[in-house]
């Protein structure tokens, strides 16, 4: 059995080690189910210079599982959220740790964490594609989800002038029937006489809640 700690202890350990370099620490517990067992999460903001140290500190506690790196356009800044989990494998002992790294849009660079967690490469490649954050030191910087002929400097998750311009959006539901094709050889349906609607049958469960 591995030694575990409470979310507060984990947060305190980061405060002791990093002092004011970690900020905005929030320990949250969301209770679910009839027994209201807690889902434990610790959120904290770290600077990009300290990101690798913070991940290394987490590894020294317990090797984490990297869920995903999420990203959000936040006006002048881009938030990168590293979702990691430690202490999995025991019943209800897992703690989710979220490192938020804010990078300015004028200088969108972040160091890679793939030296510590090799599985991060694909998520980092996606961030380069989608939100235009350059990951320094990434072992493989090719595009991953966007096609190779996708225009440079356009990032689908950006909400500024670098986001997708309206000219690229195809609103397929607005497309009418092509006019240069013959009318299909389908006869118009015969008008059906209106019948009295039958009384609706009782649903077997009666549980539909719409």
């Amino acid at each position: 059995m591995r030694a575990t700690m409470t979310p507060q202890e984990l947060a305190d350990r980061f405060i002791r080690k990093f002092g004011s370099r970690v900020s905005n620490i929030q320990v949250k517990e969301r209770r679910e189910g009839v027994k209201k067992l807690p889902q434990k999460t610790v959120w904290m903001t770290v600077s990009r210079e300290d990101l690798n140290d913070a991940v290394a500190e987490l590894i020294s506690i317990d090797y984490p599982h990297l869920g995903v790196i999420a990203a959000s356009d936040n006006g002048d800044m881009i938030d990168l959220l590293y979702h990691l989990q430690v202490f999995f494998g025991g019943k209800h002992e897992e703690i989710c740790v979220v490192f938020t790294v804010q990078v300015p849009k004028s200088d969108p660079h972040v160091p890679t964490i793939s030296g510590l967690i090799p599985g991060a490469v694909y998520s980092e490649r996606e961030k380069q594609d989608m939100i235009g954050v350059t990951v320094d030191g990434i072992p493989d910087s090719r595009r991953i989800f966007l096609p190779d002929d996708f225009p440079e400097e356009i990032y689908p998750w950006r909400k500024d002038e670098k986001g997708i311009p309206p000219s690229m959006v195809k609103e397929l539901w607005k497309v009418d029937r092509p006019t240069d094709r013959p009318v299909p050889p389908v006869a118009e349906p015969e008008p059906v006489e209106k019948k009295e609607p039958e009384p609706a049958k009782e649903a077997p469960s009666g549980g539909a809640a719409e």
């Binding site: 869920g67 999420a70 979702h83 202490f87 209800h92 979220v98 599985g119 539909a208």
Partner: protein, 409 residues
């Protein structure tokens, strides 16, 4: 032979030989053996997240159902959980149980579907048809509960749209007994078969250490001996109230070295686990409503005002599924929505497990992590001198089948 030897490149895809969605593999081959693997996903990128950021949360919920045809309800469930956290919606206890039951039925149908695919890749088409035939029962039950065979549309923010009442239990119990009766047969067909063991044991090995480092999830990581299951680690819905354990390959006297055989073991015994979980749910279900807020307009009003960020995780049939949502209280649509499906995490393991294996093993190894991919055309084999030959899907499949026959003889 005067031909220049190795290495030569073998591109496979983007129309995939073995599975159902486009992805492009490039293998560097030395004779029959794979030396290096590279792949490029993204051939079916639909921009779901981009679409979601222009819709309100209830509309996104039904978009979630359509992210995947096999594990759609898990996407809807995890999105609902994330939004419920932000908008502070209390889900009724009964709804937790309804969510759990439908999620477990989905796991049963997904794992049996996978078992069929695996049998097909190995050349056991009778077993493939048998597996898909017995899968029908689970899809029928899902239709009985939700009204749909795929894209169930049962999830709602703050609960579920339909209830599972006591008069529906006999039908559920009938399905559970059906699968219980078949379990021994399935174990016998898949795990006691000499040829399947020869093809799958020591094929596509992923060690425990690498499974952790590459951030794999679900049955893929559990088959490598990594005890990781969101249902137990961070229980959601009703899982915290139920009694069950993580399935690891040692349930069937396996050493747990993370090969294809271990992935079969984990999936088959997870069907058994799902049956237990549904039974426990039916026994423990509390009475009460299944939806926190029945008035749709009122729900939307509350969601419009909601502000904050949250992420939620569930254990989908293929592994951890995770959604991150951020809402700012000024507009209906969320500011950010990030979907992470399980294959997203598991695809990195392909590079590891395909290296050093033979061409004929590609289909079963690629299938063994149960990727969410779709169907099939041809493979081009391009020689070093630029002479292109075409290897069709049938040819690649035949190679796999021939290997099985060779081992059988």
């Amino acid at each position: 032979m005067s031909q220049k030897k190795a290495p030569y490149e073998l591109p496979i895809g983007p129309i995939h030989p073995a599975l159902k969605e486009p992805i492009n593999f490039t293998f560097q081959m030395n004779g029959e053996v794979i030396e290096k693997v590279d792949f490029a996903p993204g051939r079916a990128h639909r921009g779901i997240e981009w679409m979601g950021m222009r819709r309100n949360p209830v509309q996104i919920l039904h978009l979630c159902d359509r992210i995947c045809g096999i594990c759609g309800v898990h996407h809807a469930l995890v999105f609902a959980q994330a939004v419920e956290q932000i908008a502070d919606i209390e889900v009724p206890d009964r709804a937790y149980y309804v969510r759990t039951i439908i999620a477990e039925f989905e796991r049963i149908q997904s794992h049996i579907l996978w078992a069929g695919v695996a049998a097909h890749e190995l050349g056991f088409d009778t077993l493939f048809y048998l597996a898909w035939q017995i899968r029908e029962e689970s899809v029928d039950v899902i239709e009985y509960i939700t009204g749909n065979r795929v894209n169930y549309g049962i999830m709602m923010l703050g609960g579920t749209r339909r209830d599972i009442t006591a008069d529906m239990f006999p039908r559920l119990e009938q399905a559970l007994q059906y699968y219980e009766g078949l379990l021994e047969k399935m174990v016998n067909l898949f795990l006691n078969d000499k040829t399947i063991a020869m093809r799958c044991k020591d094929t596509g090995i992923l060690t425990k250490r690498r499974a952790l480092e590459l951030a794999t999830v679900g049955p893929t990581s559990r088959a490598s001996g990594l005890a990781m299951d969101v249902r137990i680690d961070s229980p959601y819905a009703a899982y915290g109230d139920l009694d069950f354990d993580i399935v690891l390959p040692d349930v069937y006297n396996s050493e747990g070295n993370g090969d294809v055989y271990d992935r079969i073991i984990v999936r088959i015994f997870e069907i058994k686990q799902s049956i237990d979980i549904i039974r426990q749910c039916m026994k423990q279900m509390p009475e009460g409503p299944v939806l926190a807020e029945e008035k749709y307009a009122k729900l939307l009003m509350n969601l419009k005002k909601a502000s904050g960020e949250a992420f939620a995780r569930v254990e989908a049939p293929r592994g951890e599924d995770m959604h991150y949502v951020r809402m700012n209280g000024k507009q209906e649509a969320p500011e950010m929505w990030k979907v992470k499906a399980s294959t997203y995490s598991n695809q990195m393991a392909w590079v590891e497990i395909l290296q050093g294996e033979q061409i004929a093993d590609i289909p079963i190894i690629v299938a063994s992590i149960d990727p969410c991919m779709s169907c099939t055309d041809r493979v081009a084999v391009v020689g070093q001198d630029g002479n292109a030959g075409i290897m069709t899907k049938e040819h690649l499949h035949r190679l796999s089948v021939e290997k099985t026959r060779r081992l059988q003889s």
